[in-house]
């Protein structure tokens, strides 16, 4: 891994391009997953606390790992803004992942509400990472609204369906200047590798790790796949064209000489 190839989001540098989700598996495995995955950023959600003695998740996240609270539960911009402010009060930093979902069947994000929430929260100094359905116009609006990063989904959350929106992610990678972090739907390390090869800045995965047979081992597989994909991208993909001669009916024959 090239330590000069840093990922910068909202002014913070990361060496790892793997963002881990902490949902759907036990707290005890979280620190192993973080360690084996080499993740430097992990998402968490905000929910009602209880006093039943359940061990708080923060006890399992090593110091130095950047917390990325998400606004899951928010169905509109107003709710997302409220959750973000609460999350920040917990004193774990300014990063916030905006997730506004008002469709409980596919869990697809509401792009318009996400733009509104981004604008409000960016003004309040949050480092906004906006989870969205890959639409170039929306991505541009998110950047104008102050997003530090745009997180297009690869496929609906939890489906492990792979890169259903691949070509649209490619467009965002080409046109948008803030980091593009592919989130949701990636089911295999090979898909994470592929999206990094295309030029994505980072990958986020949760369900794929959480539902694996061996969670720390799968986190490690993702780590390696993401490094491999990034390296391939930096190296420049191989050549297919091997000679200068062209098709049988030349278009340039008219130039003569």
């Amino acid at each position: 891994m090239n330590s000069n190839d840093k990922l910068t989001i909202g002014g913070t540098e990361f060496t790892s391009r793997f963002i881990l989700g902490s949902g759907k598996y036990s707290h005890e495995l979280i620190s192993a997953a973080i360690e084996r995955g080499g993740a430097e950023m992990i998402t968490v959600a905000l929910r009602r606390a209880n006093t039943s003695g359940d061990d708080n998740i923060l006890n399992h996240i090593p110091k130095g790992i950047t917390l990325l609270p998400n606004t899951s539960g928010a169905r509109d911009a107003k709710e997302a803004i409220r959750i973000a402010r609460l999350a920040r009060e917990l004193g774990c930093g300014d990063f916030i992942k905006i997730e506004v979902i008002r469709d409980s069947k596919y869990l697809l994000p509401d792009n318009n509400e996400t733009i509104k929430a981004t604008e409000a929260l960016a003004k309040e100094g949050f480092k906004v990472m906006a989870y969205m359905y890959p639409d170039l116009n929306v991505a541009r609006d998110l950047v104008s609204a102050g997003a530090s990063s745009v997180m297009p989904l690869a496929a609906p959350i939890g489906t492990n369906m792979g890169l259903a929106t691949k070509e649209f992610i490619r467009i965002l990678i080409d046109e948008i200047d803030v980091p593009i972090i592919v989130d949701a739907g990636i089911g295999r390390p090979s898909e994470a590798c592929q999206v990094m090869e295309m030029g994505a800045d980072a990958v986020m995965a949760n369900t794929a790790v959480a539902t694996a047979g061996d969670i720390p081992l799968m986190a490690d597989a993702f780590r390696q796949a993401i490094i491999a994909g990034r390296q391939a991208y930096l190296a420049g993909l191989g050549r297919v064209i091997t000679d200068k001669a062209a098709a049988s009916s030349p278009l340039t024959g008219f130039l003569g000489e």
Partner: protein, 390 residues
Amino acid sequence: MQTESITREHDIWEYTPDMDIIETSVLDQVLESKQAYNPDDYTDADIKSVLNKTILSPNDLGALLSPAATPYLETLAQRALQETKKHFGNTRYLFTPLYIANHCDNSCIYCGFNKENDIITRAKLDLDAVERELISISKSGLQEILMLTGESPEYSPIEYIGEAVKLAKKHFNIVGLEIYPANVADYTYLRDCGADFVTVFQETYNPEIYERFHIGGKKRIFPYRFAAQERALKGGMRGVAFASLLGLDHHRKDAYATALHAYLLQRKYPHAEISFSVPRIRPIKGSLDGDFYEVSERDLLQIICAFRIFMPFAGITISSRENKIFRDNVLKIAATKVSAGVDTGIGAHSGESVGDEQFEIDDNRSVSQMKDYLKSAGLEPVMSDYIDAR
């Protein structure tokens, strides 16, 4: 400030008081990149690598314009053809330029309209004459007109141009303008009169050479001319066209800067429709002395293919300054818009010729002859695919 007072002593970076000044990030980037661009830096391996990509970066454009890509011209042409097919199909647009005035306050060494040229006859059509020309041209079935004036706000003020645009919109679906660089409010006014597109030739993106060739008149001010397309877009124009006069500076470098200029503006104003022209310096009547780089047809074709591959969705216009064979072939590969029925003299179309032309034309096929050619080449001549819904 009177334009007579802008002489070769005037600093090319100094705006006159009446000029809009907008922020210069695009200008800075283009000049910096052009400065850093060295066509000789690219290798055979670079070309192969670029041709494998679908989405090209400016650096890749640099590779396609370089001498290392010249041996691959046939491959470039095949790729360009693929891109043209994907984005334009077999459609080729027809238009004609209409010069309504040839008065000019500038002294551009290479141009037949320059202020010092006493040999040519100056003229300006009054609005009735403009309308006669428009009516005559529209009989050919054309729906797109490009109206040109020399660069003289005194003889061709914005209001005059605006009235001409209104007349043009009565007879044509699409009205393009190739006039002197104007302020944002002027472009808004012209847009409201019905203009759709603005074309400005930067001539060269090399400030030293620009200074040498533009020795008088407001055109001397480099950054104001450079920002014309951006001001036009801010004024609400639907699209803009870019060009260098190839041969003033080394054509590979100016071609690079031209496409980079368009690329950066497209990213800044994503709705804008972009197109390119590719004029080469050609023989003219009464031009002042100047020395130029030679641009061969092979060079020109390489530039056209590189533009097509780099920005596949941008239009490329091939003018009647090029000969018939070149035009015919380039239309099959990458050019998407072509002029027909051209006469660059003032009043020429309605038979009331009153003023001399800017340059000699090499291909003077009529609209129906051009349509016949296109059909014979398996291409589809289109007059207009646009409705102005305003």
